[in-house]
């Protein structure tokens, strides 16, 4: 897995270049996100537009990434495909994250 990282104003857009965040890559994903989180002081927009599938291990990894952040840094999710969206809704983790339909929508809102 690779992460495409792009600074956009005060937000950092992080796009995992992987079709799946599953048990086979959950630890790798966390390890890749650790340095990104360590230096973050604003919004991280996790762009999941390439991710077609996430399982409970992947979900746990996304939660773990959020827990790596120190305020005022935040983690927000962008562009969840229907399968990924189903996992967040089913587990009620959709209530924990700010979720945006598109990057434009995410960038149009401020961090408040």
């Amino acid at each position: 897995m690779e992460l495409a990282i792009q600074q956009c104003g005060e937000a950092k857009i992080v796009r995992p270049e992987a079709a799946r965040i599953d048990a086979a890559v959950a630890i790798e994903f966390k390890d890749l996100m650790r340095p990104v989180c360590a230096e973050a002081d604003g919004r991280i927009l996790l762009d999941l537009s390439e991710v077609q599938f996430i399982d409970s291990s992947g979900l746990g990894a996304v939660v773990a990434v959020m827990k790596m952040l120190e305020p005022p840094a935040t983690l927000e999710l962008v562009t969840l495909n229907p399968t990924v969206d189903m996992v967040f809704r089913l587990t009620r983790m959709d209530s924990v994250f700010r979720i945006h339909a598109t990057l434009d929508a995410a960038l149009a809102q401020d961090a408040a």
Binding site: D55, S57, L59, V63, L90
Partner: protein
Amino acid sequence: MRPEPVPALDLPDTPAVLELKIGVSPLAVRHACEKIALALRENGARAADLNRIVLVCAEALNNVVEHGGLEETSPPIRLQLTLGAPWHVRILDAGRTMPAVLLAASNTAFTAPACATEDLPEGGFGWRMINSLSDRLDYVRHRGSNRLEIVIAG
């Protein structure tokens, strides 16, 4: 030790059954899920059913890989899936007995977490996801192996 032959699913109205032997590793589970998705698509499964079935299979298989106490060299996990609604999934493995407490806990409904961020759970989702997505779930320990039967009505 030779694995016992797997009896065919007794479902006369469902013509096709996908049968897979899956190695005990997360990558083997991933490949199996891709095969399952392909077979479901080819057999006309609706997207919503396909997503549920693949997710249930992924969670159940990963549970075996992570908690079954098996080695990568252990006999493969066996999966059977009827390729038509109602969708029946049967998973057989030679791993440890599933703790009863885990099965009981899988009935707990998901609720929106009310805790601080640092206390959010990073695991414990798998069984409850399987339970939430299934219409029937049966687990049997039989002659040293586990047999999980899941029905998704579709």
